[in-house]
């Protein structure tokens, strides 16, 4: 072989060796705990729930799945466990759609979960990319197929996180690494699953959730310049199609699993905004809600709770950071009421709670803040 040929071989072998070393390093540290629960090194977790959930499903011990959007993101697993008497795994994903939620729940159910607590709203059933075309959800990682595993192991970003985790586990370096982590973005900074996407103990809830914020958000979304956004993504036929395929398909396919589904308590302002600025959208939401209520109550393994007309929550604007996102206090109220069986939709009158909501929305007048 010529010298150039030998050099070419050396070059390719050296590259290959480096790639394999990085993959082996990622496999040993396994930041996502995709292959095994963390034993050698302390477990660390990421706030990127679409990525982290793939590892949580594999590594955690649970019998109940908790799913939802940003409205369910701040719940603490310890609260869910304490109030509902389950061993839960929170898999809520901010801004998620029904394709993503169903895919992730299905992956968790494959690990023999017996119960799903699911925060639903109409917005998740908007049209969205198919799961394999979804750039934000690493579906192959959940499937743990060759493509997903290769993408995970042969990832420089993951090797960097592995290095952080390894460095943090070395006691003399622990403080330095923790200090550095406050300057450099680290993907896996959380030490406990209970703290994933929850508000820190020192978080100022009062300044984030108050009536002033809610009224300001209401003024913002009803502004004539922006009110068209209220209608964005609302298409009755598409929502019904996605609901049938995703939610109903999952429920019907798992008759042995109990689904505790709750409709989240938006502030009354969200409904009033649609009433005043986009009545056609409100009609779509009402019609879809009625359809959803009728269909879900047909299934014996579903218990549907509708908190949307819970006026003690939804009319107290101090509970909200905008027109839909409620405070951690409401998280606890929701869990308590789920445990107590309050606000359960009557199978004989599946639209009764919707009718109560309609009355509230029609009657409500927005008071300017004094």
């Amino acid at each position: 072989m010529s010298t150039a040929g030998k050099n070419l071989l050396r070059f390719l072998c050296a590259s290959g060796l480096l790639l394999l070393t990085a993959a082996a390093f990622n496999f040993v540290v396994d930041p996502l705990q995709l292959f095994r629960p963390a034993r050698l090194l302390p477990a660390m977790y990421s706030e990127d729930s679409r990525l982290q959930n793939a590892g949580l499903i594999r590594s955690q011990d649970f019998d109940t799945v908790f799913m939802g959007t940003s409205l369910a993101i701040h719940f603490r697993q310890s609260d869910i466990d304490r109030l509902l008497g389950v061993k839960s795994l929170k898999l809520a994903m901010t801004g998620s759609n029904s394709h993503q939620q169903t895919f992730v729940i299905a992956a968790a159910l494959n690990r023999h979960a017996k119960r799903v607590i699911w925060q639903l709203d109409d917005w998740i059933f908007r049209d969205a990319p198919e799961i394999d075309q979804d750039a934000y959800l690493p579906a192959d990682l959940y499937r743990r197929n060759a493509k997903g595993v290769a993408g995970y192991l042969f990832s420089g970003a993951m090797a960097r996180e592995s290095t952080w985790i390894l460095a943090r586990s070395i006691r003399p370096l622990e403080k330095t690494v923790a200090r550095l982590a406050s300057f450099v973005p680290v993907k896996f900074p959380i030490a406990s699953t209970d703290d994933i996407n929850t508000l820190r103990a020192d978080f100022d809830v009062g300044s984030a959730y108050n009536a002033k914020q809610a009224i300001a958000a209401f003024a913002n979304i009803t502004d004539p310049v922006r009110r068209a956004f209220l209608a964005e993504g609302y298409d009755y036929d598409a929502m019904v199609r996605n609901f049938e395929r995703d939610a109903v398909g999952l429920i019907a396919g798992h008759p042995d699993v109990r689904f505790d589904i709750y409709l989240a308590p938006y502030s009354i302002l969200q409904w009033v905004a649609m009433r005043d600025a986009s009545p056609a959208t409100l009609k779509i939401v009402y019609d879809f809600s009625a359809y959803l209520g009728r269909r879900l109550t047909e299934y014996p393994n579903v218990r549907l709770c509708d908190f949307r007309a819970a006026s003690d929550i939804t009319h107290d604007l101090a509970n909200y950071s905008d027109v839909i996102h409620h405070s951690p206090d409401i998280d606890l109220k929701i869990l308590s009421r789920l445990a107590a069986g309050d606000y359960v939709v009557d199978r004989a009158a599946p639209t009764a709670s919707l009718e109560r909501l309609k009355e509230q929305v029609a009657a409500y007048r927005v008071e300017p803040l004094r």
Partner: protein, 478 residues
């Protein structure tokens, strides 16, 4: 298909190379046809709906070229044929790239209510310019008759098809015709791999790595003084590493096939004047604009005033070539102004005393870099208002945050600046000489050869490890 993707690196490229060299044993034409078909396959993976357009463009220009080369027509008829050819190319480019822009402007002025939604075929700006140059040279009598497979490969050659470098037929077609390139050359393959590795590293580790910082200036929130500067600098480095990384990868890939592509970058942020910058940035576009626009407009042959007018026109059209938006026009005009000022300074400015020469060079370097960064704000901004707002923030030191995040970001920017200002260019590292068709000559005797070899291997490994799911090259949009 992206160069920075697993299917390209582990599937397409090896198959294209193996097929090319196997067919090279059976003759000189088969590998050319193979490479042309491979290029079509490469293009059709993500742009299948525009394959016919590409083929039609190749056929149209080839026929027009044949008419011009044959020299059987009268001179006025030849000119008419050239005009038809160039107009046809510009019409297609204008339809796909500028119809929406034109409609938006008509709507703004006349409330015309026109709605134009046409997808931009990837690479159309590059293959249109390549072929216009071919037609003009054919008209001038500077072109020999080429065979269709060679011409089709020249236009569609996959390493350059999507985002350049802009090729010249006189440079490329003789290489496609050469029998030497059809035999595997381990030295060229190795050098090509190392250049590809450097480009891949620039793209996936450097350009993609700094991308999140760009949002500090160009995101939805109004930036502070420091955030605006960090974002603008981040974009300056992102664009450079992204595009020069792409160009390195194109050169490296082509080298594996035994074909030398022209250089497109030569450490542009080391430039000490704007004239110098344009000799180092997107060099093949600068050459094209000089040869086929600036010089035909009269260049510097019609007096100083017209020279400046020609410069402004060339740069404004160069800006418009990048994209159908006023921000690109302003970017081009701004560089036109810079160039005029630079030429005027050279002509009328005071001579620098020898003892101040270093200081003058340093001042020129700083001024050039800052001017380029300011112009990039228009290049990147979503609109004129957004650009003006970012520039206002960059000029308002009263609003400053400089928290932990900004300190870390500034440190990262400093590292990128260090690489852009002090690291040698890829061609310097590799001894790539496009004109003499040599590369890596020093590697055989150089003591550092193993270090370069293993550093290149590391660059390839890190480049592959850095591949993200969806990371297009910025210049794909142009």
């Amino acid at each position: 298909m992206l160069f920075n993707s697993y299917p390209f690196i582990f599937l397409f490229l090896p198959i294209a190379l193996i097929g090319y060299f196997i067919l090279g044993r059976f003759g000189n034409l088969a590998p050319v046809i193979w490479l042309a078909l491979a290029s079509l396959a490469f293009y059709s993976v993500s742009n299948w709906q525009f394959v016919l357009l590409l083929l039609a463009s190749i056929a149209f220009n080839y026929v027009i070229g044949l008419l011009l080369i044959a020299r059987r027509l009268s001179s006025s008829l030849r000119f008419a044929v050239l005009a038809i050819g160039v107009a046809g190319d510009l019409l297609v480019l204008g339809t796909f790239k500028y119809a929406g822009f034109l409609a938006a402007n008509l709507n703004a002025v006349f409330s015309a209510g026109l709605a134009v939604n046409i997808l931009l075929p990837v690479g159309i700006s590059f293959y249109t310019f390549t072929q216009i140059a071919f037609l003009v040279d054919a008209y001038r009598g500077d072109v020999a008759r080429y065979r269709l497979p060679h011409y089709a490969l020249f236009v569609g050659y996959f390493p350059h098809l999507i985002a350049g470098p802009i090729l010249h037929h006189k440079d490329m077609i003789p290489q496609f015709e050469s029998a030497d390139a059809k035999r595997p050359n381990p030295h060229l393959i190795l050098c090509g791999l190392i250049i590809f590795a450097i480009g891949l590293f620039k793209k996936t580790c450097l350009a993609d790595g700094i991308q999140p910082l760009v949002a500090l200036a160009f995101g939805p929130d109004a930036p502070s003084f420091d955030q605006a500067w960090i974002g603008a600098l981040a974009y300056s480095f992102q664009l450079y590493f992204d595009f020069s990384g792409y160009s390195d990868m194109a050169i490296g890939i082509s080298l594996m096939f035994g074909v030398f592509l022209p250089l497109n970058f030569n450490s542009p942020y080391k430039a000490t004047s704007i004239i110098d910058f344009w000799r180092r940035w997107h060099m093949t576009l600068s050459q094209f604009l000089r040869d086929y626009l600036y010089i035909p407009l009269g260049g510097n042959r019609c007096g100083r005033v017209l020279r400046y007018v020609n410069l402004m026109l060339t740069m404004a059209l160069g800006g418009l070539w990048h994209g159908a938006a006023w921000t690109f026009v302003v970017w081009g005009v701004l560089h036109g102004v810079y160039l005029c000022v630079n030429h005027a300074w050279n002509n009328f400015g005071p001579r620098v005393a020898p003892r101040f020469e270093r200081a003058a060079i340093l001042a020129g370097f700083v001024l050039t870099f800052l001017s380029v960064v300011v112009a990039w704000v228009f290049f990147r901004a979503d609109g004129m208002a957004s650009a003006a707002s970012i520039l206002a923030s960059m000029a308002d030191p009263a609003r400053i945050v400089f928290g932990r995040g900004e300190i870390a970001d500034a440190a990262l920017i400093a590292i990128y600046a260090g690489i852009a200002w002090f690291a040698p260019s890829t061609q310097t590292i590799m001894g790539y000489d496009h004109r003499n068709r040599t590369v890596g000559e020093a590697l055989g005797t150089w003591r550092m050869r193993p270090a370069l070899l293993y550093a290149g291997a590391a660059a390839l490994a890190f480049g592959i490890l850095g591949i993200q799911q969806h990371s297009e090259f910025i210049y794909f949009r142009f």
